[in-house]
């Protein structure tokens, strides 16, 4: 039979974000497939070379839309490592709080987002409604709903508003009481199980071959490969949490891990609010006006655990007012590019959108 070419995206209800998968199908089976990225390419790495260190804080959240805070964190970590700045204790805890809230919102979006490819739209509506509450909290903490520009070099931009702890706790309690509903709706749903169990496998060899990180890696290797545990940044070594893992990685396992991680995030958030000390939230990193800061020369890479995996920046400074070069490691780059080329073929057309979704692919961070 003749191969037919189908497009999944850029304009396709099954595609999140703006990128395209070219699929050559024979019957219902995908024979060859390629990702065509670049629809979201904005030349971030070049733009960052043209802005001062502080101006960059306003630019970088836009690299990854669903979860922008890791961008600010890695950028700040790099600059602090180069300039040898000690961040105040309270700032570490606030950073963790913001990162965990961001992770929770990204997980909710991804977990409910399974409603798109499987057709269970109710999950999407519920999860988005809960995500909206997190965005409201963010608005109160940082002044912005989505792009916060909150974590800066030397700490965070401002202290937490008064009484926010109560609101966060109330939200977290409420969400935790309703998480079993999500489990019943999505994970225990027979039709979702039919679509996800034993489907869309990700064996450990593939993980190592591609360099997949995050939930994909933990779901097949069975080890707690989480940067928060392996190389703790901020104060992740002071809080207790488990990293859910598994050794058999089908789409359902990866969804389950996402669900279990939400409980751990809630646990971390409670500890943060409990243990957070008082004090300064920002150290002046360098002398002079923030817009004329000259970060000492050096080349450093920092990475944090985003909801999709290892998210890092490689920063090169030559001591100027602007970074000399910043390279972005999008967490889902390996599975989206080489993964689609090598491991999507063999699946059915029905699975393509689900594959894209459960591998945790975020197109803006691939295109940059």
């Amino acid at each position: 039979m003749k191969e037919v070419k189908l497009f999944l995206g850029p304009q396709h209800p099954g595609m999140h974000g703006n990128s395209s998968i070219h699929m050559y199908v024979d019957g219902d089976i995908i024979k060859r497939s390629y990702l065509l990225p670049g629809m979201l390419h904005r030349g971030f790495e070049k733009s960052m070379e043209r802005r001062t260190w502080m101006n960059n804080i306003a630019l970088i959240p836009r690299i990854c839309v669903p979860e922008p805070d890791p961008n600010e964190m890695v950028f700040a970590l790099n600059a602090e490592a180069l300039a040898s700045v000690e961040v105040p204790e309270r700032a570490h805890w606030i950073r963790m709080l913001v990162l965990e809230l961001a992770r929770l919102s990204a997980h909710l979006m991804a977990f409910g987002g399974i409603g798109g490819p499987t057709g269970l739209y109710t999950a999407m509506y519920w999860a988005q409604a809960d995500r909206d509450s997190i965005l409201t909290l963010f608005e109160e903490i940082t002044g912005q709903r989505v792009y916060h520009m909150y974590i800066t070099i030397g700490g965070v931009r401002k202290d937490l508003p008064k009484g926010i702890e109560k609101k966060i706790l109330a939200f977290v309690d409420d969400l935790e009481s309703r998480l079993p509903d999500y489990e019943n709706l999505v994970l225990n749903n027979p039709s979702v199980q039919a679509r996800t169990k034993d489907q869309i496998m990700l064996p450990a060899e593939v993980v190592w071959e591609l360099g997949v990180t995050g939930i994909g890696m933990r779901s097949s290797t069975g080890k707690a490969y989480d940067l928060r545990k392996v190389t703790p940044y901020a104060r992740y070594d002071k809080v207790e949490f488990d990293v859910p893992t598994a050794t058999y990685s089908d789409a359902h396992t990866r969804l389950t891990l996402k669900y279990l991680e939400m409980y751990q995030i809630i646990r971390i958030i409670r500890q943060i609010l409990d243990l957070m000390p008082a004090g300064k939230v920002r150290e002046k990193a360098l002398d002079g006006s923030a817009l004329r800061w000259q970060v000492p020369a050096g080349q450093v890479y920092s990475a944090v655990e985003a909801s999709r995996g290892e998210y890092g920046y490689y920063t090169v400074s030559t001591g100027g007012t602007m970074p000399y070069r910043v390279a972005v490691r999008g967490a889902s780059f390996p599975q989206a590019t080489l993964g689609i080329e090598k491991y999507l073929p063999g699946h059915r057309i029905d699975d393509a959108a689900l594959w894209f979704d459960t591998m945790g692919i975020c197109s803006p961070e691939i295109d940059r």
């Binding site: 099954g14 219902d28 499987t118 057709g119 269970l120 109710t122 039919a194 679509r195």
Partner: protein
């Protein structure tokens, strides 16, 4: 009520057609509201579906060749003809022509027209959608037919109005729902497949094949398709009602039964994901067909539930 003159019969048919359109389109809007509550939202106005259809009719349409245009017309014509034959409460436009098999054949005309038109649009996704729709049809038709044949065998008639009349003899207890519960369950699952509700939504599947057969439709053609959609829902739900819920003797009973069936199907749809097409076929050839055969054996050989 028996009407003997042809002009009057046609007028009655048109009246049924008009009623079917307004009833089902309003109900679709109401169901959208109910579903919205399920999603924790308010939802649109109840007459939103009318707005959508009239808006589409006021837009310009693009044509993809005469097969495409002709197919839509043929589909709409076929379905409208089917609706005109449908008994509605006490009214039957063409008495004696409400045999179950008439609907099966007339309905097929509409489906074929739809398939022709969609393939005529030339989009591979539409082709895949049509293939899936036909494959799914093969899946649900067999168990549904087995149950219906068991009913016809049991009651000794294949006329819808007579089947309804038989079931109305002793109130609720003579409904096929009570007499043949297993068959009703099988038929309801098949009804979900017919309506294209999840988990049997494979041929629309926006996330996979971008709404399948409808992928190239826009403007007036899409408007006609939506009218067609409303009519086919009316036919399918009415068939189910007449076969299992004892038809409807009065407007209130009609409204309640119809709404119960359609809203239940829509709500199930909201709590389910969609199967893949191979899973759909495997499912239909496992559970509903087993239930249907069990029911048929009970009716035909054991004489239960007649």
């Amino acid at each position: 009520m028996v009407i003997n003159q042809l002009p009057l019969q046609i007028l009655t048919g048109l009246a049924i057609l008009a009623f079917a359109f307004f009833w089902q389109t309003s109900l679709s809007g109401i169901t959208r509201k109910i579903v919205a509550r399920y999603h924790k939202r308010y939802g649109p106005k109840w007459y939103q579906e009318f707005r959508d259809i009239f808006k589409l009719m006021s837009k310009t349409g693009v044509t993809h060749g005469w097969v495409y245009d002709f197919g839509v017309m043929m589909a709409l014509g076929g379905i409208m003809a089917t609706v005109m034959f449908m008994p509605l409460m006490k009214f039957t436009a063409f008495p004696g022509f409400d045999n179950f098999f008439i609907y099966v054949y007339l309905f097929a005309v509409g489906m074929l027209g739809m398939a022709m038109s969609a393939v005529g649009s030339g989009n591979p996704l539409a082709g895949i959608g049509v293939m899936r729709a036909l494959t799914q049809m093969v899946g649900y038709e067999v168990p549904f037919m087995i149950v219906v044949l068991a009913i016809i065998n049991g009651h000794g008639t294949s006329s819808l109005s007579q089947l309804a009349a038989i079931q109305q003899q002793a109130g609720v207890l003579s409904w096929n729902l009570v007499k043949m519960p297993i068959g009703t369950v099988a038929a309801f699952i098949c009804l979900l497949g017919m309506l294209g509700k999840k988990p049997f939504e494979t041929f629309i599947a926006p996330a996979e094949i971008a709404s399948g057969p409808m992928v190239e439709y826009g403007g007036k053609q899409l408007g006609m398709l939506m009218i067609l959609h409303q009519f086919s829902i009316f036919i399918e739900v009415s068939l189910f009602m007449n076969l299992f819920l004892g038809g409807a003797a009065n407007p209130l009973g009609f409204a309640l039964k119809y709404m119960a069936v359609y809203v239940l199907a829509s709500l199930i749809s909201q709590a389910m994901g969609r199967f893949k097409i191979d899973q759909v076929i495997k499912f239909f050839y496992k559970i509903p067909i087993a239930l249907a055969i069990l029911q048929a054996v009970m009716v035909v050989y054991l004489g239960w539930g007649v």
